[in-house]
């Protein structure tokens, strides 16, 4: 086939595909009269097009994972491995396959991780793993899944740990953010687990929702503490690890210094905690929902530009804590789980920090309160204007009456609008900004005219009744000043310019 011929086929194909079935047939029949071969070719492609939905939809490496994975581990389900009777497979992770098993010596259920053969083949790795497992096994904390043993059985390494039944926080997140009454208790538990581990000199290195299980009683437990990632300062080992397919960290949870290959310390966990906690609080990843956004924001972070983050945290105090966890510079973060825990406990003790705002995108309650007070005061002042103008009738019955009636009419309009806004702010706050925008120009015009009428009245009675003139001038100035200065200020505070949905993490 020539490129030219292919171009013709393409053109006809698209012309046909855009039509309804009858139009398609008609167009193809028409094409067949001039070029039957072309029409037949397009007909054939169209048939395939309609029957091959889903073809090539999955990317190649997902279609053929066996080509990427060098040695797919065989399942050990049903086998007896040393003292362990393997019951079922519960997951596959970066280090190996995880089974539910029974330790027949102690008759207890364990999570048994069959480690990839790389761990037994490479003495350096093996030694390091042993050391790390020993350190991690000393950790006992309610928020950490305890490590029981590292056994070598038939030349393969098995890591036995506490079997935690429940679902991962990743699964929980699929249903949305954590309920606000559960959020702080959950975060505090996690932080206390981190604090205990950090105090023992153990860093998790790969904290993420997949590694945290919510038990049936509501408590959370962190898995794989201290052994989640093997990383060696020794460059040779590092390269070997890389070649065997181990990722050091998970994108989206890796702190900038981790991405840059720097030291992993407690503050690396603090960063990952910040990401996880943000997700739990908002249901969304702080750096965006798609890998493209994630990469863009992480690249920004590496370049030292401030990060923008998505989602809004319901508790204001918590947002401050989490933003501190997410700082680019490790020294700007909490130094360890201990400091983090202290900050979270401070939050729990201060009820003003943990009362969820009714509408997180709305004003602070205090600013709204001032705005409401302003509306009430202005409604009272303006309601008093007709009273003042009533006395004009003593000076000139006809003109005074007209002035009184005009002021009365305008004041009634103004007071009605203000009371309506006040009412809206109390019962249907979400509509307040829209409602105000609708009536604001009327309000401004009416009150401006009111001010003008009062000043004219004052000018007319000046000399005959100075006391009345003074009162009128005062009321006029108060009305206009309120309209021009105080009203914009309280409104800006209460309604804000739309609070940006994206805050800055710096």
């Amino acid at each position: 086939m020539t490129p030219e011929r292919w171009r013709q086929i393409n053109e006809l194909f698209h012309a046909v595909v855009e039509r309804d079935p009858r139009g398609r047939t008609a167009l193809l029949d028409e094409a067949a009269t001039t070029d039957p071969e072309l029409a037949a070719e397009v007909r054939s492609l169209l048939a395939v097009h309609e029957s091959s939905a889903g073809f090539l939809d999955e990317p190649a490496w997902a279609v053929a994972p066996e080509l990427i994975l060098d040695t797919p581990a065989a399942s050990l389900t049903g086998n007896q491995m040393g003292p362990y009777r393997i019951i079922r497979e519960i997951g596959r992770g970066g280090m190996g396959v995880v089974y539910e098993a029974e330790d027949t010596r102690l008759r207890r259920s364990v999570a048994l991780k069959a480690l990839h053969t790389e761990y037994t083949r490479d003495p350096l790795r093996r030694e390091r793993l042993t050391r790390e497992a020993q350190a991690a096994a000393a950790l006992t904390h309610p928020a950490i899944a305890t490590i029981y043993a590292l056994d070598e059985i038939d030349g393969a390494l098995f890591l036995a740990s506490e079997l935690v039944r429940g679902e991962t926080l990743r699964q929980e997140l699929k249903r949305g953010p954590v309920a606000s009454d559960r959020l702080l208790p959950t975060l505090t538990q996690l932080a206390s687990g981190l604090a205990a581990a950090h105090a023992a000199g153990i860093v998790h290195r790969d904290l993420k929702p997949e590694n945290i299980i919510r038990c049936r009683d509501g408590a959370v437990k962190i898995l794989d503490f201290g052994i989640a990632r093997m990383r060696d300062p020794d460059a040779v080992t590092e390269m070997r690890l890389t070649q065997t397919g181990m990722a050091v960290g998970t994108p989206g949870y890796m702190a900038p210094e981790q991405l840059e290959g720097g030291d992993l310390a407690p503050h690396t966990d603090v960063f990952a905690f910040g990401v996880v906690a943000w997700e739990l609080a908002t249901g969304a990843h702080p750096f965006g929902a798609t890998p493209a956004e994630l990469v863009a924001r992480m690249a920004d972070m590496l370049d030292g530009r401030p990060l923008t983050s998505s989602g809004i945290i319901v508790f204001r105090g918590l947002e401050t804590v989490l933003r501190r966890c997410l700082r680019r510079n490790p020294t700007g973060r909490y130094a360890s789980g201990h400091e983090l825990l202290a900050a979270l406990e401070d939050l729990r003790r201060d009820p003003s920090q943990t009362t969820p705002a009714r509408d997180e995108s709305g004003p602070s309650p205090r600013a709204l309160w001032w705005w409401q007070v302003h509306q009430v005061v202005m409604a009272c002042v303006i309601a008093a204007l007709p009273v003042a103008t009533w006395f004009l009738r003593q000076w000139n019955a006809t003109a005074g009456s007209r002035m009184f009636l005009a002021v009365l009419a305008l004041a009634t309009v103004s007071v009605t609008i203000r009371l309506n806004l006040l009412f809206t702010s109390r019962v249907d706050h979400d509509r307040l900004a829209a409602q105000r925008a609708r009536v604001y120009m009327v309000l401004v015009s009416v009150e401006a005219v009111l001010g003008l009428l009062l000043l004219i009245s004052a000018a007319l009675v000046a000399g005959t009744s100075d006391a009345l003139a003074a009162i009128l001038v005062t009321l006029a100035v108060a009305t206009v000043a309120s309209l021009g200065v105080i009203e914009p200020a309280t409104t800006a505070a209460a309604l804000g310019r739309e609070r940006p949905r994206d805050g800055s993490v710096g």
């Binding site: 097009h49 190649a60 990427i68 994975l69 596959r92």
Partner: protein
């Protein structure tokens, strides 16, 4: 010319990074957690960029290299496996079987690669597009970005190229 040579020099590195990441992704997967296809290329980009950002003109440039590398990795391996198991051990799943099962049909990658080469001879742009979409795992929008054409054009090309490839594969098996 010089540009091409520079790209060739980068290929092995991207190749290794992608293979390693894909393996890690696949191993890491837990039940119920779906793979994010584009995450792979993005992560490779992020990792390789942090070493020497100056080598990549932009992400589109990187995506093209990554998709091409991924094609090489998979085809080489599929070929190696095919020769190992010569004698019909490798079942060729036809499109219809895949559809009946209600899952994405598995694809004979070697046959696809050969068909893609034929497509390249008549329409290099479409072949490149398929490489980005299928081997690179890019979305329609990302492919549009990488090729500097509109998403609508990507969709049009994709539709017809996919149908053509499906037919080629069906007739080959």
């Amino acid at each position: 010319m010089g540009e091409d040579r520079r790209l060739d020099a980068l290929l092995p590195e991207v190749y290794e990074e992608l293979r390693r990441l894909a393996a890690a992704y696949l191993r890491r997967e837990r039940p119920g957690q779906t793979l994010q296809p584009t995450a792979l290329v993005h992560e490779a980009y992020l990792r390789l960029m942090k070493d020497r950002p100056d080598r990549w003109q932009n992400r589109a440039h990187f995506c093209a290299i990554a998709a091409h590398s991924m094609r090489q990795i998979l085809i080489e391996r599929a070929r190696a496996r095919g020769t190992q198991k010569r004698g019909g051990a490798q079942p060729r799943v036809t499109l219809d079987e895949g559809l009946v099962a209600g899952v994405a049909p598995s694809v004979d990658l070697v046959a696809l690669d050969e068909a893609l080469e034929r497509l390249e001879a008549i329409d290099p742009e479409q072949a490149r597009l398929v490489e980005l979409r299928f081997f690179g795992g890019l979305t329609i929008e990302e492919t549009a970005d990488a090729m500097n054409i509109s998403p609508a054009t990507v969709k049009r090309h994709w539709t017809v190229a996919r149908a053509w490839l499906a037919r080629e594969l069906a007739s080959a098996s």
